[in-house]
């Protein structure tokens, strides 16, 4: 950064300060971060933070000045590119300012330039560890606007693949969290199973990640031959694999020492912050959208929602492992009762006609041309649908104006909201525990920045 850039930020910080003095108020939190966050060096950040607020008024006799340490964005244990500006008193974190936006992709904005059909390929790429949940929320919103009924088999396929996705996401979380806290072995074990699950994704959707398997009206394709057998073998083996992970970690003194009692927030505070998913359930709040507001036929499945009690990182770990077990149970039920029928709705105004018909039916060909070039039109209105992702509530808010392109696609991403819990959690904790907290919240930066 040249001196020019610094000047701009200094000017910005000065403006914020002057405005605050003029209005006779203290500098707001965000303004203070602006002043500190864009600094080129930690020393400079400290200087600006000091300028920005009246430290003398806050300082107690005998207290020390905090040291400002920049953590990230290129840091192996911040789950992607999260920048944390930490105010340290020795090893104790006095305050932490997360700075996001380093992985901003502009996907939400891009969706406005694509047809509803094309936007499916973009929304998968937001939270790259749970692609199926992103599209599920998006397609469900579009289906709601269209008033389109999804066939029963497609619903069950969606549940089946979503739960498999939940397993892979939790496996990545477990492996990387272990890695961050020094337990390297578990990483290799979880990635061994994850790779097999990705093989299954590849088999059914053609891609190992960023799958565009769910389409508006159902699923892109039916299951390929041999898929259900391989999936059955996978879920049959999975519980014993989870035993293996538990054997490595659950009673491991180092793991317990690093996670138990770390990152505790009371349940009501978590609710106030809007935290969802395992991080909330670990604190004893029984909120799971699959149970609370069943979608896509979840009411037909017999499963329990694991709920913890202490709300620390160890509880979150236990809950995620139990969720893997519950997911295997749901997949087993899917395999046992997968209904026959079409895998996608038969609405020629929305869904592409079946491939063989293109050669025989002129009408199908016309529909095909129209759908591909122009896209289907969605009636004016707005819809919000939420699904329970591995990280919590992923909701998609779609606004349509009657045209073939969405006016707005907004994702309520669980990672983004859950990241808010980091600051209250990290206050007055050890710096090393901060890493455990980031890990236990399981934020995916692709979902945070979108």
């Amino acid at each position: 950064m040249g001196t020019e850039g610094i000047d701009i930020f200094t000017a910005e910080a000065r403006e914020a300060r002057e405005a605050a003095t003029r209005e006779g108020r203290e500098l707001a939190e965000t303004e203070r971060v602006v002043a500190g966050a864009e600094a080129a060096t930690p020393q400079e950040a400290l200087a600006r933070t000091r300028e920005g607020e009246d430290i003398a008024a806050r300082a107690l006799p005998g207290s020390r000045d905090p040291m400002i340490i920049n953590l990230g964005p290129q840091h192996p244990s911040t789950h992607g590119v999260l920048r944390l500006i930490t105010e340290l008193d020795g090893e104790i974190v006095r305050d932490v300012h997360p700075v996001i936006g380093y992985l901003h992709t502009g996907i939400e904005k891009q969706c406005e330039n694509k047809t509803f059909w094309q936007a499916i390929t973009l929304v998968t790429r937001m939270d790259y560890l749970s692609p199926f949940f992103n599209i599920h929320a998006y397609t469900a919103s579009v289906e709601k606007l269209l008033g389109l009924e999804v066939p029963e088999r497609a619903k069950w396929l969606r549940v089946m693949i979503s739960e498999l996705n939940r397993i892979t996401s939790h496996l990545v979380w477990l492996g990387t969290s272990g890695l961050e806290l020094g337990a390297i072995t578990v990483f290799f074990y979880t990635y061994r199973e994850r790779d097999r699950a990705l093989d299954l994704f590849e088999m059914i959707s053609g891609e190992r990640m960023n799958n565009r398997y769910f389409q508006v009206g159902g699923c892109a394709d039916d299951v390929p031959p041999g898929f259900l057998g391989l999936l059955k073998r996978f879920v049959d083996e999975m519980p014993s694999r989870v035993d293996e992970y538990e054997g490595m970690l659950s009673a491991n003194p180092i793991w317990i020492e690093r996670t138990r009692g770390v990152g505790v927030l009371p349940a009501d505070e978590l609710i106030d912050l809007g935290i969802t998913g395992p991080a909330l359930r670990a604190a004893g709040v029984d909120l799971d959208l699959r149970k609370a507001r069943p979608y896509s036929g979840y009411e037909h499945f017999d499963f329990t929602v694991p709920v913890g009690g202490n709300g620390d990182a160890y509880d979150r770990y236990l809950i995620r492992l139990r969720e893997i077990r519950e997911s295997t149970r749901i997949i087993q039920q899917c395999l046992d009762g997968l209904p026959e029928g079409p895998h996608i709705a038969d609405d020629r105004k929305v869904v592409l006609p079946p491939r063989p018909e293109l050669a025989t039916s002129m009408e199908a060909l016309i529909h095909h041309f129209k759908l591909v070039t122009e896209g289907f039109r969605v009636p004016e209105g707005e819809a919000y649908t939420a699904v329970e992702s591995p990280r919590g509530e992923i909701g998609c808010y779609v606004v349509a104006d009657g045209g073939p392109k969405p006016v707005r696609v907004h994702m309520r991403d669980a990672s983004f909201v859950n990241l808010q819990a980091l600051r209250p959690m990290a206050k007055d904790a050890y710096l090393a525990d901060l890493i455990a907290m980031i890990g236990s919240l399981d934020n995916v930066m692709g979902g945070v920045d979108r």
Binding site: T121, D195, E202, S205, G206, E207, P224, H368, V372
Partner: protein, 153 residues
């Protein structure tokens, strides 16, 4: 930590040494892919040598990444390239932009373009990632093996 714990730990190490590795020596042995895997694109011709692509640009319309460029031209009795009225004089895919969603394949009403199984696509110069029609009509230089029924890596 007692001596039993240590023995138990070494026991696991020893057992693991005897088990078959799950990894693959990659450049020599390539990961097989499933039939639906979407990799490098390929343009197809009929048995009589005429191209299946008629330059209708449906793939261009479908592509969410805007990575395909088609310039169509009329077939003439002197120069007959495709089976339809028109043919693609220019057919380019910018592989640096492609997201392998396969919508071009879905959109094509003549099965002229498909996504094949080849996945080794890196180049030293990004200009080489713009694939021309000749490159797309030829088989992929690096083929990937197809996974046999029930085969595990």
């Amino acid at each position: 930590m007692s001596i039993q714990d240590q023995l138990k730990g070494f026991g696991i190490t020893f057992r693991t040494m005897l088990s078959k590795p799950l990894t693959l020596g990659y450049p020599e042995r390539k990961t097989p892919v499933f039939p639906r895997f979407r990799g490098r694109h390929r343009l197809w011709t009929y048995d009589n040598g005429l191209e299946k692509c008629v330059g209708c640009s449906l793939c261009v319309a479908a592509c969410p990444a805007d990575c395909i460029r088609v310039v169509a031209e009329e077939n003439t009795p002197q120069l007959r390239v495709s089976a339809g009225e028109r043919f693609a004089r220019i057919y380019e895919i910018n592989m640096a932009r492609c997201i392998f969603c396969g919508y071009c394949e879905v959109a094509c009403p003549f099965d002229a373009i498909t996504l094949e199984h080849s996945y080794e696509l890196s180049e030293r110069d990004r200009r080489e990632l713009v694939y021309t029609k000749d490159m797309l009509l030829a088989p992929a230089p690096k083929q990937a093996p197809l996974r046999a029924e029930g085969q595990r890596v």
